[in-house]
Symmetry: C2
Subunit: 460 residues, 2 copies
């Protein structure tokens, strides 16, 4: 136990140095899904290893079949131990032309109301968020020379690319990494005033499908109608994925998807989620999914099927009357409760094959999978964390569901038997995965202060 | 009237020079649909003007709102006058990686059987074909100092891009360009031994559709299901274009599409078209279009709807869980008999708008249109040409239908009141519009000889 007021004061007086370190980190082009940036990912891992060493962690970037994984330990203090997880990789930046500036030349902008935002790829997801925890540790070390509890840090570089390295790494290093609980900072506030702990996360199943028709591109004037057009074949398959009521039409897809428990339904209704504001913020107004489901259900507790990308034929300037040889699509499913990603993948592939003409061929490529997960909020650490967040933000922290998928949760649970506390300071308008991603300086600053309080609370 | 044997002999002894000129022409990157190549198109027009001048034509490249149009006249001879039409522009070359060599560095390859092919973009469509006519004129001038009949040449640069310049140009220069009949060399042989005159051509209606959903790319984990996904909206529209029987489902689309006249149906049946060989040549086996229609009907006398290109969301390496803001598709319709492209366009746009959610937007871009056309083969010039081709190839030339659309035919008919004889020497395996386009040296050589015979026949 140690007095945290000087630590909080240190955070306030040294926020500019913390911001400077984050801006350095944001300049590293750690796009994990594109092999062209493998060197940048390695450089980013090295950056973190050095940074953790600089505050007394025993840290290094470990080799994996994919991008390196950074591991750091400072277990000099006794007590309740934590493993903090974050990811240093970022999403691709296209369409580049929609960025107001270079995504890897971060800038601090000042709003008309005087508040500041940090703009750049990864500012929120996840470099800005993970650094809130690292800076909290730095402040403790600077003020008291030690941390209040044993802390390990695990930073991966394949979160955005459904990478396969982490599960193997966790299994191979279970004894080293095991802690009393996991901490992750990769989620959002409930709203700009209300902090949140995410207690449910959907799973993921990513698939890429390639349809091949003719063995070359054909002139549609000569072969039109007679030759199978992969664009038509693919469009039919993609259209069939959802029925007229917005339900996903793959047989057995909803197996293991129960209705929401009444208690949770009531709690969510009490949040008075404003669906029209949620959609209005992105220029829409009509919930597009399953009829009869609330928007909050759709994004928290219902499974989804989204075409993340599709393409076939001539997409350049002008026009080309071609029947393409190939067409392809990237499709992802968000899974809930007990849906099994492997069962879903199998059912999807059967659904597609059924719709491919006998003289065309189809290939599939797997892009990551993870089961949905729920945490037991009865564990004392959850309530301690909730109180610490409530103190920092001056508003009751909420237990919420989560739309995104963070496969690591499942891996930590299955490989290390650990529950995870998901507390993050992102905001709905952070535009993560989109052009002009940002992170509020307030999220960064109060996020650091929040972890100072959480680390202290967990030591009591 | 003049003895053609020395002219044919001249063609044989000077074929290498003719080939050299064609290779020069093929090096010019005259891709009309991509503005980046406008300079190359202008250079190509100048090349033709100089070449025509070199054989005594009064020729020049004329400015248009788009790419230049080359016009040349040699009307020193009296008699039955012809206007030869060709196009010097070519299709884009992507996917470039599928070419065995630079598409604009043409090569002459020798097959195992000793026959030669000219490989490069435009080798067949239409530079190689149009040069067969120009070289025939060159031979006449070299041997007899004059042509047997009055000849005008019209070479446009927007045939592959549905360009709008030609109709205006024809209307503005009708008196100058009018001739007794039009000649076009932009079609195929019936088979490698049998020459053909195309007497029916389908029309064209090209459309590009853009769907916009959210005002930015979204994270599918946060907005999945709830936010309209333009990929899903577009896939549904594209799938709906054809019903389960392969019929095009746009209301009124088949207005003005009669059944084939029995006489023509019998003649086509007599051709013993080998549908499995036709599809087998491109790696397919099952006719994909309207149930109950022969493949020959599909490609000659039935209208089509093909998705030439579609795209939306992340199509790069790896995976990105995004809901894209936009998706788009390029769609072309081949029209027959009395279908009106403007009516089809209107019906298509209504069909699409009906399927766009109220909170999404749709935009359209027009890409060319032309009505289908049939020629009166009762005109003596048709039979004279058919006999000339029969003599050159030693096989009865056939009157055939045509799958492609050559809008100029309609323009020549409407603007100048001219019928057109479509005689070409391309082969089904020329891969026009595809990577590794080629033209048989035999097509080029005997094509030149064919025009020598046709020009002579038309002078008798």
């Amino acid at each position: 136990m140690s007095d945290i007021n000087p630590v909080l004061a240190y955070v306030d007086t040294h926020i500019d140095e913390a911001l400077g370190r984050l801006l350095d980190l944001l300049r590293i082009k750690s796009i994990s899904t594109d092999p062209a940036f493998a060197k940048d990912c390695a450089a980013c891992a090295e950056w973190h290893a050095r940074d953790l060493q600089s505050i007394g962690f025993e840290a290094s970037a470990r080799k994996t079949p994919g991008h390196p994984i950074v591991v750091g330990h400072d277990r000099s203090a006794p007590g309740y131990s934590v493993l903090f997880y974050g990811h240093y990789d970022v999403q691709p930046v296209d369409p580049l032309e929609l960025w107001t500036h270079d995504p890897f030349e971060p800038v601090v902008e000042t709003r008309s109301d005087g508040t500041k935002i940090i703009r750049g790829r990864g500012a929120s997801d996840d470099k800005g968020q993970l650094m809130t925890f690292v800076e909290a540790c730095r402040a403790f070390k600077a003020v008291h020379g030690k941390l209040p509890i044993p802390v390990s840090v695990l930073l991966e570089g394949e979160e955005e690319s459904g990478g396969a390295s982490l599960p193997m790494f966790l299994a191979a290093n279970a004894a080293e990494l095991k802690a009393d609980i996991g901490l992750i900072c990769d989620t959002s506030m409930w709203d700009p005033r209300t902090p949140a702990i995410t207690t449910m996360l959907r799973g993921l199943c990513g698939e890429e499908v390639f349809i091949t028709g003719p063995d070359r591109d054909l002139h549609s004037g000569f072969y039109g109608s007679a030759a199978a057009n992969p664009n038509h074949v693919l469009a039919r398959i993609l259209a069939d994925l959802r029925d007229a009521d917005g339900r996903i039409a793959i047989p057995g897809f909803y197996d293991g998807v129960p209705e929401l428990p009444p208690v949770l339904r009531r709690q969510w209704e009490a949040l008075n989620f404003d669906a029209s504001a949620f959609l209005g913020a992105v220029g829409l107004s009509i919930p597009a999914g399953e009829k009869g489901r609330s928007a909050l259900e759709m994004v928290w507790s219902r499974p989804t099927c989204e075409i993340n990308g599709m393409g076939g034929g001539y997409q350049g300037e002008g026009f080309k009357t071609v029947i393409p040889s190939k067409a392809s699509a990237k499709i992802s499913f968000r899974l809930v409760f007990d849906q099994d990603p492997h069962v879903v993948r199998k059912a999807f592939r059967a659904f597609v094959k059924e719709r491919v003409p006998a003289d065309c061929t189809v290939e599939f490529k797997e892009h990551g999978s993870g089961k949905a997960i729920r945490f037991d909020i009865g564990a004392p650490a959850f309530e301690k964390t909730r109180r610490a967040l409530t103190e920092e933000w001056g508003a009751e922290a909420a237990y919420v569901g989560g739309g995104g998928s963070i496969p690591v949760n499942h891996e930590l649970k299955s490989a290390l038997g650990m529950d995870v506390i998901l507390a993050g300071f992102a905001l709905e308008d952070d535009r993560i995965h989109s052009p002009n991603e940002k992170y509020d300086l307030r999220s960064f600053h109060k996020g650091i202060r929040s972890w100072v309080r959480v680390l202290d609370a967990l030591s009591r």
